[in-house]
Symmetry: C2
Subunit: 318 residues, 2 copies
C-alpha cells in the first residue's frame, strides 16, 4: 500500500499521476482538512473533493478544482439573493456538499461521509481525512485573522502573513486508519503541496509526525518549490511567515524529522547537491506537471525512489 499526504491543487495533480501508474486500490490518500469551511450552511472540504474528483475523472483540469463542465446557476441565484458569492460552488459540485453535510448532521464522521461518496463514485482508493475532528487553518494578517479560504480565495492571498495557526489541532486525533496506513505503508509520498497550509495541518495532528518518523518505509516528498518560488499559489509567503527559507532547503526543513528523499527540479541541481546528506537524499528531475505524461512521470519517479519494485509489480496494469 502506498500512502500519500496531500492537499491543494498540486496534490491533486500528483494523485492524478499516481492513479496512472499504480492500481487505484493500492493508494491510501491522507488529505488535509484545514481548508474545510462552512459555506451557505454546507460543510465544504475542498482538498477531499479535489482528490475524489481527480480519482473519479470528474475534476476540472482547467480550474484545478470542482467538477469539469460544471455550471454555476445556484451561485448566480445566491448572488441575486444578496448572499456572498466569492467561493465558487458549481451545481454538480453542490451535490457532494449537500450529501456530506446531511451525513455529518446525522452524526456521521467526515471519514464515513468521504468513504460513502467515494464508494458511490466507484473509487477503489482509500481517501482518509487527516482527522474527523475540526482543525481550521487560520492566517494571521494585518487585515485580521482569516480562514484559509478567506485568505486564499476571497482575498487572493494578497495580505502579508504574520503567522499561520491550526485551530483545534492540538486536540485533534488522526482519523481511523491514518496511523495504521502510515505504519504499514510500502512507501509514504508527500505530494508537491504547500508545506505550510496543505501538509502542515496534517503534520499538526498529534501522532502523525511521529508515525512518519517511525514508519519503516521510505518517506519521499516532491518539492512544490523551484528555485526561490512556489510552482503555484501562496507557498512562498506562508513559508516565510513560518520561518522557512523559500527553497528546496525550506521544504527539507519543514519535513526534516521524517523525510528520506526529496525530489527537486533539475534547475535546483546545485542546491540539491548541497542539501544532500547521509539522512536526506535529494534527486533531481523535471518536476513541472503540465500534462498527464508529466504527472505520470513524476509519480513514477517518486514511487521508484521509495520502492523500485512497485512499478515493476504494477507494470502494464493501467
Amino acid at each position: 500500500m502506498i500512502v500519500v499526504l496531500t492537499g491543494g491543487t498540486g496534490g491533486a495533480k500528483f494523485v492524478d499521476g499516481l492513479r496512472r501508474v499504480i492500481p487505484a486500490e493500492e493508494l491510501t490518500i491522507i488529505v488535509n482538512t484545514g481548508d474545510d469551511h462552512v459555506w451557505w450552511g454546507l460543510y465544504i472540504s475542498p482538498d477531499i473533493d479535489s482528490i475524489v474528483y481527480v480519482l473519479s475523472d470528474l475534476l476540472s483540469s482547467e480550474r484545478g478544482w470542482g467538477v469539469r463542465g460544471d455550471t454555476f446557476h445556484c451561485l448566480q441565484a445566491m448572488k441575486e439573493l444578496g448572499e456572498e458569492a466569492w467561493f465558487s460552488v458549481g451545481d454538480r459540485d453542490l451535490a457532494t456538499h449537500l450529501l456530506r453535510t446531511q451525513m455529518l448532521s446525522q452524526g456521521q464522521t467526515l471519514s464515513s461521509a468521504t468513504f460513502h461518496i467515494a464508494n458511490k463514485l466507484g473509487l477503489r482508493s482509500r481517501i482518509l481525512p487527516m482527522s474527523d475532528m475540526r482543525v481550521e487553518t487560520r492566517i494571521d494578517t494585518p487585515a485580521g485573522d482569516l480562514s484559509f479560504e478567506e485568505y486564499f480565495v476571497k482575498r487572493w492571498y494578497q495580505d502579508p502573513v504574520n503567522a499561520v495557526h491550526f485551530r483545534g489541532s492540538s486536540d485533534a486525533e488522526p482519523a481511523p486508519g491514518v496511523m495504521d496506513a502510515i505504519a504499514s505503508a510500502q512507501a509514504v509520498l508527500v505530494a508537491p503541496s504547500n508545506p505550510v497550509t496543505s501538509i502542515g495541518p496534517i503534520l499538526g495532528v498529534p501522532g502523525i509526525r511521529e508515525a512518519l518518523h517511525t514508519t519503516r518505509s521510505k518517506v519521499v516528498a516532491v518539492s512544490p518549490i523551484i528555485g526561490n518560488a512556489a510552482v503555484t499559489g501562496p507557498a512562498a509567503n506562508l513559508m516565510t511567515a513560518q520561518g522557512l527559507p523559500v527553497s528546496i532547503a525550506g521544504v527539507a526543513k519543514a519535513y526534516e524529522d521524517f523525510l528520506d528523499i526529496l525530489i527537486a527540479d533539475d534547475s535546483d541541481a546545485a542546491a540539491a547537491q548541497l542539501l544532500s546528506s547521509d539522512r536526506l537524499q535529494v534527486q533531481c528531475t523535471n518536476i513541472l506537471m503540465r500534462n498527464s505524461e508529466d504527472k505520470a512521470r513524476i509519480a513514477r519517479a517518486a514511487l521508484t525512489s521509495a520502492c523500485p519494485e512497485i512499478i515493476t509489480e504494477s507494470a502494464g496494469i493501467q
Copy 2:
C-alpha cells in the same frame, strides 16, 4: 389590503392574476406550509416558493413550480451519488432552499426567512406562512402514512386515500401578521386551490377559521372544481376522503362557516343556483386559467365581487 389564502399551482396562478390587477403592496398572501418537507437536508416550502417565484416573475409557467429555465445538474449529480431524486430541485431554486435552511438553522423563523428572500427579490407584497410552527400534511393510504410530497410527487397521487391529517396542527399558532391581516382585510380571497391539502392546513391552524368567520370583510373563494372533477391535481380523491362531495357544493361545504361568495364555472350554473342562499352568493364565470388574460380576469372577478371599489382605485396602475 387584500388577503389571499393559497397553496398549490392553482393558487400561484390566481396570485399571478392578482398581481396584474392590483398593486403588489396591497396584497397579503397567507400560504399553506403543510407540504413543507426536508429534502437533502434542506427545508423546502413548495407553496411559499411558488408564490415568491410568481410574484418575482421567476416561476416556470410550463411546470407550474420552480424557476423558469432552471437546470437540474445538482439533481443529476445527486442521482449519480445514489441519492433519491424523485423531488425535482433546480439549480437556481436550490439557492432559495439553501438560504432558507441556513436562516432557520440560525434560529430565525420561517416568516423571517420568507420576508428576507421576498425582500431580496424586490417583492412588495407580504407573504406570510400560515404558521412558523411545523404542520405536516399526512396522507393515510393503504400503502402507509405518506407525507404530502410522497403522495403527490413520488407516487403521482395514485394511492387510494383513507384520510388526511395535519400533524402538529392543533399546537400550531398563526404566524405573526396572519390574524391581523384577516381581521383588517378589505377582502379575503380563497384561491382556487385544493380545499383539503392546500387551504385545509391553513384552516387547521387554531384561530384562523374563527378569524375568517369574524372578519368584517367579504370572503370570496374561486372554485378549484368544475362539474365533478378538479381542474388539476388530486383534489377529488382528497375531498372524497374528507367526506366532501366533489362539486362546488363540496367546496362551499369546506368553507361553510366563513364563505360569503363562491365563484364557480359557467358550466356549473345550475348547481350554482341550487347552492345560492341568503348566506352564500354563487357567481358564475369562465374560471379556467389558461393564460395571463384569464388569470387577470378571474382575479378581477374575485376582487370586484368582494369589494367593487378596489379595481376602480387601482385602475391603470399596472
